[in-house]
């Protein structure tokens, strides 16, 4: 009973704006470096769009991951699902524009299936979500590797419109991501399902006692997460013309999407956070990349600093909480 006093946080308001603050800092560093090096062409709106456009796949995946983490779960299978989606998409399309719709449907169906299986394992079999989705990741990886070689094909030019097309000077992919973010925001902020996600993530037992069908909420969140990963796979297939079985793992989309969500202020134990933090996290990540590129940091040193930045950013607002974490 007295724990309630410990959990209460006085610095709530500050925490709420922490992602925006971090974003501001990253942006300031970027502008300062660009100005300092006299590279003003990196400060135009076109450059801004280029920065955003670099992290479409991460952004789409992270939107889904936000749902999984908010509901108190986590999804480590997204990277392999992205690979599988890209491979299946290019195998089914095989250069034929007529097969675009069936391929997209098949990929989304596969995503829904993976999400359902993840959700079933977590809710019905009560497997720890980390283990359940890690096991799923290994299974997808194994299936993908054993079929590799039998899958070829490439996407038709028409499908590359998703990655390279533009409407009114804005890339189609960026518009899709924006719409996805808006949809996620509306769902989380204004629907009953959205508030159920927060209640289940905050305290599953209380939510159940309050009459929420917690298993359904967790299942739905996982299906959304996997669908987003499939969409990211479709985007990558469209950008690279054909899918390869390692694009997901090479981009480390599983760990990066989690890192982005957490940097955005969504807490890993669930129930607190939101989609705008994730958006800020994604932009922070691509800004960091751009800063390193501008400053000409060596690729390996970049990786080292990236690891440190992830931890530092999370520590930035975790440090004030009085909760004991593990």
């Amino acid at each position: 009973m007295s724990t309630a006093i410990f959990v209460k946080r006085p610095a709530r308001r500050m925490e709420r704006y922490a992602p925006a603050l971090l974003l501001g800092v990253a942006l300031a560093i970027y502008v300062a470096i660009a100005l300092g090096l006299g590279l003003t062409r990196f400060l135009t709106p076109e450059a801004a769009i280029a920065i955003l456009n670099r992290s479409i796949a991460l952004g789409i995946t992270a939107v889904g991951q936000t749902f999984a983490i908010l509901v108190g779960s986590i999804d480590l299978s997204v990277a392999h699902l992205i690979s599988a989606s890209a491979v299946v998409a290019s195998a089914i399309m095989n250069g034929d524009p007529a097969m675009m719709l069936p391929a997209v449907l098949a990929v989304l169906l596969m995503g829904a299936l993976v999400g359902t299986l993840n959700g079933l394992m977590i809710t019905r079999l009560e497997v720890n979500p980390l283990i359940a989705t890690l096991g799923m990741a290994l299974i997808i990886q194994g299936c993908l590797a054993s079929f590799h070689g039998r899958f070829g094909g490439s996407v038709p030019d028409a499908f590359q419109y998703f990655a390279y097309g533009a409407v009114l000077g804005l890339p189609v992919s960026l518009i899709v991501l924006t719409l996805l973010v808006l949809a996620a925001w509306i769902v989380l902020r204004f629907t009953r399902f959205g508030s159920n996600i927060y209640s289940v993530g905050g305290n599953r037992d209380t939510a159940r006692a309050a009459g929420i069908k917690t298993t359904r909420v967790v299942m739905a969140s996982h299906i959304i997460c996997s669908l987003c990963a499939s969409l990211a796979g479709l985007y990558l297939a469209s950008r690279l013309k054909s899918g390869s079985p390692w694009i997901g793992t090479e981009g480390a989309y599983d760990l990066e999407s989690i890192a982005v969500v957490v940097i955005g202020g969504t807490i890993l134990s669930g129930g607190k956070g939101g989609i705008w933090g994730t958006v800020a996290g994604v932009i922070i990540f691509s800004l960091i990349d751009s800063i390193f590129n501008l400053a000409g940091v060596d690729a390996f040193a970049k990786q080292v600093m990236r690891g440190i930045i992830i931890v530092a950013a999370v520590a930035f607002y975790a440090i004030r909480s009085k909760r004991i974490v593990a």
């Binding site: 724990t3 410990f6 394992m121 079999l125 009560e126 497997v127 720890n128 980390l130 283990i131 359940a132 890690l134 096991g135 799923m136 990741a137 290994l138 299974i139 990886q141 194994g142 299936c143 993908l144 590797a145 054993s146 590799h148 760990l255 989690i258 890192a259 957490v262 890993l268 134990s269 060596d298 390996f300 040193a301 970049k302 990786q303 080292v304 600093m305 990236r306 690891g307 440190i308 992830i310 931890v311 999370v314 520590a315 975790a318 440090i319 909480s321 909760r323 004991i324 974490v325 593990a326």
Partner: protein, 333 residues
Amino acid sequence: MIRETAGSAKTHAAARAGRLPKINPVFFVLAALLVAITLSNPNFVEPTGYMNFLKRAAPLAILAAGQIYVIVSGGFDLSAGSLITLTVVGSSMLLDNNADATWWVIPVMYAVGLAVGVVNGVVVSFLRVPSLIATLGMMITLNGAAFMWSSGSPRGYLPETFRFFGRVNLQGIPLVQFLPVALLVLMVVGTVLFWLMHRTNLGRMLHALGDNPRAAQMSGVPIEKVRIIAFVISSLSAVTAGILLGGFAGVSTDVGVGYELQAITACVIGGAQLLGGRGSVPASIAGALTLTAIFTLLNFIGLPKPVRDVVQGLILIVAVVLATYRRNRAGGT
């Protein structure tokens, strides 16, 4: 707990006798797998057969024995695999093909491991970063460091003096003909870690911390210190595993890839409870041997690597499902 702290040998024996019927199922699974391997390959009962198996399993078993400390304390250590890589790559860079340098390179590597463990523990305890993110960041950092140190392509080889631990078999041992040094290392590390976890106050505090951190803190457990020690033990075991792996796998920047997940899998197979409070060192070592035995068996049957991934995934899930089922039936938490 009270009975154990009373501490006479007699009560210990009584407690052990009382626990006897509850043998961890992982030992039965391991025994069944070893029988299956023997049936599919009769050579396995020869010393060369089972000794090579144990030698191959030793790094993972040591890693799992360290990882269980962090798991019991309620966290994860994802940085173990990258620390293995760093140990192998770093040693080859420091040794620079000079066999006489081994005596100081190994302590240096342990110092690196100590530092990594302390940083992990401090970041989790004092910066309050969840261990998943903290050790993930450490993993990315250490991988980057290994690449940076070797400029992407490690050069040189490890001299025989360094490879002694992972590679050499001591000849002329009675009963078993020969004994791999790696197995000797595993037995020593296993015994020490078993003693620390199950026979000392540190082990009890670890369990208390993992079970309920708030309660542990209120009953006087120095939770920050205990957590840091857990991460340090995990990191030191990763360095040990790295030295063994360097002995028989050679130098590359991906020696350690995937080992952290295999170690966690091994602990889970050994009945450890994720998020803390339950776990045993011998069962984790048995879990590591089980995992290696499964891979060996699949290899004998002639299944390719992709199938092994699928099988590892399925085993992971089934192990957790069974553990949860057993716990629910026992009426525990």
